[in-house]
Amino acid sequence: MNIIVCVKRVPKTAEADLFIEKDGKDIKKDHLVFALNDWDSYAVREAVLIKERYGGEVMAITVGPEDSKEVLTRCLAMGADRALRIEEPPCFDALLIAKILARVIQGQPFDLILTGVQTEDDGWGQVGVSLAQLLGIPHASIVNRIEIENGKARVKRELEGGLEELLEVRLPALFTIQTGINEPKYVSLAAILEAEEKEMKEVGLEELGWTSMESLYATLDQVSFPPAGKMAEILKGSPEEIVNQLTEIIKKKKG
C-alpha cells in the first residue's frame, strides 16, 4: 500500500493577535508560530497507521516555501518514509496547487492519497477533491474511518447532526481526513533525529515543466477585519467582582 499525504505549513492564529500588512493583501506573519496544519497531522498519522497494518510506504508532499521543510521533517518523524517539497508559485489559488500536485503525483506509484479536509489558514477545502478529479480517481471527503480490503476501502464520512455515512470506494482513491479520526502520537526526540536521516527531495517548478503561470480562478484582492457587529457586554472588575456579577446574571436568566 503506497500512500501519498499532501500537507501544508500554516500559521497558528487561534490565540494570536492578528494585524494586516500595509498592502492589505495578507495578515502580518512575522510574529506568528507556524506548524503542520491540524487536519494534515491527522492525515499523516492515519497514513502511518494504514502502513503499519497493510505494509507499504508513506510519502509526504508539500507545495510551499523553503521553511515548509520543517513540517516535512515533522511528517518523517511521525513515520513517513520520504518527503518532497515542491517550490511554491508566486501567486496561487487552490486549483493551481491541486494541478501542481497532480503533475508530480502522476509519475509516482500510489494506492491511496490522503489530505486534510481543509487548512487552518484560508480553508478552501478544495485541493484534495480537485486533485482526485485531475488524477481521475474516486474520492471521499470528511473521512473519519478507513478500512481496506481487496482493493477497496470502506470509509465513513462525517455528515451533519451526528450522522455518518458508510461508503465503499475502489482504490486507488483520495480521501480528505477529518480531525479526530485517530489519536495523535507523541513524537519523540529520537524520532525527530531519525527523521533527519530520511530522504527529503526538493523540486523547482521549472523542473516540472511549469514555465508560465496560468491565470488564476480565484484572486485575493484584500483582507480586512470583520466589521464589529453585536458585541458581548464585558464584565469588569476583580475576579471576585466579576463572579458576583456573573452569579446574579445566572440567577436572573435561570428563571
Partner: protein, 324 residues
Amino acid sequence: MTEIFVLVEHRQGKIREVTYELLGWGERWIGQQEGRLTALLLGYGVKELAEELSMRAPRVLVVEDERLKDFNSIYYQRVLSSLLSRYQPLLLLMGHTAYGMELAPSLSVELDLPLATDCIDLSFEGRQLKALRSIYGGKINAHVTLKESKTYMITLRPGIFPPKMPEEKKGTIVIEPSPIQETTERKRFLEYIEAPLTGEDISQAEILVSVGQGIGGPEHLPMFEELAKSLGGMISCSRPVVDRNWLPKERQVGISGKTVKPKIYIAVGISGAFQHVTAIKGSDTIIAINKDPRAPIFGVADYGIVDDFQNVIPLLKEKVKGMK
C-alpha cells in the same frame, strides 16, 4: 436573463434547511432584475419533496434516477455537469456542507468553472463575481475575485442567510430525463450510521457548561462537571475536545454534533468557530469566558469575561454551590 441554480440538499426523506437559505439568498439577489431562480432536485421517489420545494422556489427541476436515491457525488456530478452545460446558468449555489464539499471541487475541475468555497457573501460587478470569505477561524475576511466566466460555482456557508419562507403561489415543477447511463462501482453508498446515544441528551439541557480546547487538558473536567451539576445543567464541549477524546462525541455542540437551545450557555475556552456558533444561536443567554479578547465567540455572546478560566471558574463553582 440571469438564471441561478440552487442544488437541493436532502437526506433520509427530508430537505435540509441550508437549501432554503440558498434559495433565500438567490431570491434576494435576483430581486427586481429579470432573472429566474431554479431549485435542482436530484433523487428517487422525490415527488413529495418536489411539491414541498415548489412552495419556496419559483421553479423546481427534478431529475429522478434510482442511482440518485442517496447522495453519491459521482452520479450527482454526472447530472449537474449535463444540466450546467445545457442551461449555462450564471450561478450554481451549493451549501458548504458534507454535500458541497464532496461535490463542488470535482465538478468545477470537470467543467473548468471558477469556484469559491465557504463564502459568507457575494456580489457582482457587471458579470464579475466577488466573494467574501471568512478565514483564520473567523478573525479575518478575505475579498476574492473570480475569473470571468459564463457560469460560476459557489458554496455558501450554512447558517448565515435567512431561509426562504413558504409562499401561497406555487412554483412550476419540471421533470428532466436522467443523463446517467453507466452504473459505477468506483464509489458506492452503503448506509447511514446514527451516533449511539448513551448518556444524557445535551440538546434537552436548560443550562450547559461548555468547554473548548482552551481549558488546556482533561484534568480540569471534574471542576466543570461539578459546576454544571451545581447549576442543574450538563457539560458539553466543542469539537477539539472530542477529537482529543476528553469527552465523548454525544457531548459535542456544533454542525457535526448537536444543536442546542438552553436558557444559559456558558462557553469556556471556546474560540467560536462558525460550526460551533451556528449550533448555539438558539440559546436565550450566552456567556463566554476566554483569554483572547478577539475570540469570535464574543461576537455572539451576551456577556463576556476576558480572563483565564482558572481565575473565574473555581470562584464561581463555590459561589453557586447548591444553587439548583
